[in-house]
Structure formats: structure tokens, C-alpha cells
Symmetry: C2
Subunit: 333 residues, 2 copies
């Protein structure tokens, strides 16, 4: 790479001062039409492009966002990231991506490095840090949006999924289909989403005059094998189950495999529902009825919220709750 063309080169070649070039480039301040044309010509000729580094140092705007996720190769976060990058691109910003790999130490490290790089804003997904430490680190940023993480006692914009409504949709759908004896594969106890979805299940049952007390329910790992084992146990303990509500699509795929190995037909013997609507959900046999969490849209809206904060003068902070959508397929028609 030969030396980059600088604003000084352009100024010299066009026979004007640095500021005149700067004014043309940034399109602010008055410049006569003839001068502007001459400068633009020289710029095109030399292929001048302003250094964002130097610019950022003086303007304190880097046109740069940070996105921190546990793991990009998780389709959920990849979808969010794509949404964020879409908005960033449309507004001439670039996106730093950082994986935390679920480690709070790494999370802290990457947040600091993003601060050192002077990002204009930060989108932090599913933070695993303690409230107090998180609040402190976030002070280093001008604009922040949290996704899937509520920070108590702090005015930070937040985007959340309405898991409770999603849980309710799923159960109501099964009840409408005439299934009364419903079993639950609840996923890991530690999951906040799981607890919220469970609350939604309970509410739907209560509305239908059913109690949650004697309902067959079991925790399981949020994976295919977790669903397989869990469903086997549940179906053996409660052979009268007509439907299985699963924590997410992976668990539901496991449940599907369990039904297959136990000779239970899906959906005629047992209906199955998942959650998230990952690609896989539509591709297994039978395809899964599930609750779609609009990950791309979450990314879009979080990024828009962030850009709003970046450009706004006031400190007002908006929150957002995204509604999941019931997707009916053959596993629970």
C-alpha cells in the first residue's frame, strides 16, 4: 500500500487551503461553485478518501458501533447482528462484532476494547455480567441498547422479547385444537425466558379453567438430546399426554425423535410445539408448530433505537418489547 492521499495533497493540487477541501468534503460552510467543482475534480482524480481515524479524533464521532453477543454462530444472534449491520450500513456506520463465548471476563475485556476504540454506540446481547459491574462499564458509552437483558436501576434502552405472550399463544393454540392433557418440557431452570414462557403457559391454562398443579412438566437441557430424554420420561410417566409444549425448537426436535421411537404418531397421537422458529423447525418431519422470535427485526429495531440515541440531544431512553408470532405447521395443526 502506497501512502494514502491526504487532504493536504488535495489542497495543494487544487490550490486552496485545507479548510476549503474539508468544507467541500463535509458539505458544510460556504464554498463557491467554481471552487467546489475544482476540488471535487481533484478529489476524484487523486482518489482521496478522508481518514476516519483522524476525523474521529477531532469530531469525537467514529461512525462505528459495537455489537457484543455470546456467540455469532448461534443463529439467533447471527440474525440480530444482520439486522444491526443492515441499519448501520444504511447510515454509513461500521459494526465491531465481539463474541463473549459466555465468559463474563471476556465480556468485560471486549467492552473495554470497544470503549478504547471510541464506538459511538453499543448493542449488548444477553449480557452475563452482574448488574453493578455492568452499570459501571456502560458508563463508558454515550449510547447503549441492551437486548434480552434487563438492567435494574439504570436508564438504559432495552429490547426484550415478550416470552410470556409467546408461551400463552402456544398453549392457547393447543387448547383450541381440543388438546387438554398437555405436557411441558421446560428447558433449563436458569433461563429467564423459560420462566416467562412458563408464566404464559400457566395463564393460558388458568383462562381455560385448568390448574397448573397436576400438569406433567419436566426440566431439560435446551438441546435435541435434552428434549429426547425429557420427552421419553414424560411420555412414560404420563401415557395419556396429547401434546408436548417444548422450551425451544431443538427440544421439540428431540421430542419428535422420542415420539418416533415410542411409536407415537405426531400430531395424531401427540402434538408438539417448539419456540424460536429456527430454520430447522420447518425442515423436520413433520414441520414444527412454533413461536417465531423475529431476530432480524430485533436487530433492526435495536440499531434504530441506538442511532436515535446517538443523534438525539436529550438523554431520553426508549424501551421496546417485541412480540413473538405463532407459526402453525403440521406438528400441531
Amino acid at each position: 500500500m502506497s501512502r494514502r492521499v491526504t487532504i493536504a495533497d488535495v489542497a495543494a493540487a487544487a490550490g486552496v487551503s485545507l479548510m476549503t477541501v474539508s468544507r467541500v468534503v463535509n458539505n458544510n460552510g460556504p464554498v463557491s461553485e467554481t471552487t467546489r467543482q475544482r476540488v471535487l475534480e481533484v478529489i476524484a482524480e487523486l482518489g482521496y478518501r478522508p481518514s476516519e481515524l483522524a476525523r474521529g479524533l477531532v469530531t469525537r464521532r467514529t461512525r462505528t458501533l459495537g455489537v457484543v453477543v455470546p456467540d455469532v454462530s448461534n443463529p439467533f444472534f447471527a440474525g440480530i447482528l444482520r439486522g444491526v449491520e443492515q441499519v448501520a450500513y444504511a447510515q454509513n456506520h461500521n459494526v465491531f462484532l465481539c463474541n463473549t463465548e459466555e465468559s463474563p471476563e471476556r465480556e468485560l475485556t471486549v467492552l473495554q476494547s470497544l470503549e478504547d476504540k471510541h464506538v459511538d454506540g453499543l448493542i449488548l446481547c444477553s449480557s452475563r455480567m452482574e448488574d453493578e459491574q455492568l452499570a459501571k462499564v456502560l458508563e463508558g458509552f454515550d449510547a447503549v441498547v441492551l437486548i434480552n437483558r434487563f438492567l435494574h436501576g439504570s436508564r438504559v434502552a432495552t429490547v426484550l422479547v415478550d416470552d410470556q405472550a409467546g408461551g400463552r399463544h402456544v398453549v392457547e393454540h393447543l387448547l383450541r385444537g381440543g388438546r387438554r392433557r398437555i405436557g411441558f418440557l421446560d428447558g433449563p431452570l436458569s433461563s429467564q425466558s423459560g420462566r416467562l414462557r412458563k408464566a404464559g403457559h400457566r395463564a393460558a391454562l388458568a383462562d381455560a379453567g385448568l390448574s397448573y398443579e397436576d400438569v406433567p412438566a419436566i426440566d431439560c437441557a435446551p438441546s435435541v438430546s435434552g428434549g429426547l430424554e425429557g420427552a421419553r420420561r414424560l411420555l412414560r410417566q404420563h401415557p395419556d399426554i396429547e401434546a408436548l409444549v417444548c422450551y425451544n425448537d431443538l427440544v421439540a426436535v428431540g421430542a419428535l425423535q422420542a415420539c418416533f421411537s415410542l411409536g407415537r404418531k405426531v400430531p395424531s397421537d401427540v402434538a408438539i410445539t417448539g419456540f424460536d422458529d429456527i430454520e430447522l423447525a420447518a425442515l423436520v418431519h413433520p414441520p414444527l408448530t412454533t413461536c417465531r422470535v423475529p431476530r432480524y427485526e430485533i436487530g433492526l429495531r435495536a440499531a434504530r433505537l441506538l442511532m436515535q440515541q446517538i443523534h438525539a440531544d436529550d438523554e431520553d431512553v426508549e424501551d421496546l418489547v417485541v412480540q413473538p408470532e405463532l407459526i402453525v405447521r403440521a406438528s400441531a395443526p
Copy 2:
């Protein structure tokens, strides 16, 4: 955000010059042990962190990489990205992610913006740009690694998948299993990977004394529906087919569905193979025999190659060919 602590604040508080602080921070140049300790104390007390922006401007190193992919939400690219970020993190670099959404114009735009941001190196996946234009744009970067794209007549480091070997593995495996009458769902004609895999198929058949001429083969879209349609047509035209070799796992899933709807048992009537080993491959029924493309590892190795270039003085450029691995599952035992 209150004003950041600068090196001047530290220098003043410690009663030394800026350079002494700089020397302590960067651990270069001689500093007496007592001074070093005092400076370190002040740094810790004030919470000073050097501005990467200012540093980058003068050192011409931003500790920043760019990764350009068609679409992060494609698991293949997400896996690569994760590998790259892993290496970057380990070496204190940050990663700019850019999606091109398959648009050459957008690709050009993001490449320019990465140049403007002074990235130390670039990893470009599956570039859709013309050779000539690409070569020109890449001149703006000190270090470049291309993934899944060969650039003729230019010395650019490249990481490629050995698709031909992969294609060969798959067919050889089927032949070993005694299947002689093999059908091919070749994917889109435009795919370079597809052509290479096809060459591998042909070589394996030739080695077994079989000609490729009268072999049932058909192009199809690289998707589930493409595979479904293609397999239906192929199986109807050639009812004696014992195995289907599919362009990728999605096509294979479609083929699986086609066999199911035609009442052909997999693998007893028809064996099926995919390519890529996406998550889905292990989760359908029966699970797919496929060829694993190690996307995470590709990311790792591309990033290491890039870091090597960044730190090396010479202009030497290494290439890399990654071997796909045959994964045998129930769809073609």
C-alpha cells in the same frame, strides 16, 4: 459519558512527562522502576486507558480487522466469523463485520469504508466482484486473505476448501457400500464449488471403472425445495437409482422428503449424502451422511494467516487448502 482520562492527566498527576507515561503503557524505552510504579498507580487510580484512535493515527496500526461476508446469518459464514474473531481476540484486535447481501456494489462500498477506517487486515469471503476491480480495491489494504475466491494474476493469500476431494470421498464411500447406480443432484451450474465437487465425483467413478456419461444427474436450486423437486424428477426418470449424491445438506434434506413421499426407504432403497455438515444434517431422520466443511477452522486459519502477514516484513503470501471430512451417518451407512 464524562471526559475521558488522557495521557496528559496521568502525566500531570504523576509529575512526569507524557513520554514517560507512554513508555510505561507501551512497555518500551527505559523507565526507572520507581517511576514505573508511580505511573502505574496513577493509571489504576484514574482508570486511564489509551485512545486507540489517537494511537492508530500515529502508529498506523489500529488493531482492527475487517471481515466481509455475503450474509452472517448463513451458518457457514457465521462459523468462519467466529473463528476469525477468536484469533483476533486472542491477539487484542477487534473485528469489523460487513455483510454484502450478495451485492457487488455494497461489497465495494464496505471495502472502501474499511479502508477509510484503516483496518490492519482484511478477510474477504466469497467475493462477487470482478477480478480486475477486486484487485484494484485490494491495493488499499496492507494484508488480505481471500476465502472461497481465487483471484487470478495477483499475489493474495487464499483459503480454499478442497471440494474436489470432498466430492470424491462421498462417491467412494457409496461405492464401497456396494451402490453402483448413483444419481447426482448437482446444485446450481454457476457454483464453482459445485463444479469442483462434480470433478471429484467423476474421478471416483472413473477409478471404479464407471463412466460418467450415462449417469443420472440434474441441476437444482441449492435449497430444500430444489432438492425435493430434483430428487422427484430423477427418481421417476431412473427408478433403479440406489443412491443420491446431493450438492449440499439442504438439497439432501429435500431429497429425503422426496424419498419419503415416493415411499422409498432411506437408506435401504436409496442412500443419500449431503455436503457441508450443517447442524441440520445430524437432526433430520435419518441423519445425513455428509462431508464436513470445517468453517470455524477456516476462520481460525485465515485469521492466523492474516496476522502473520500483518506482522511479517516480507511480502510473502501463503495459501491454504482445507480438507473436508466425510461424516458417515444413517442416511448412507
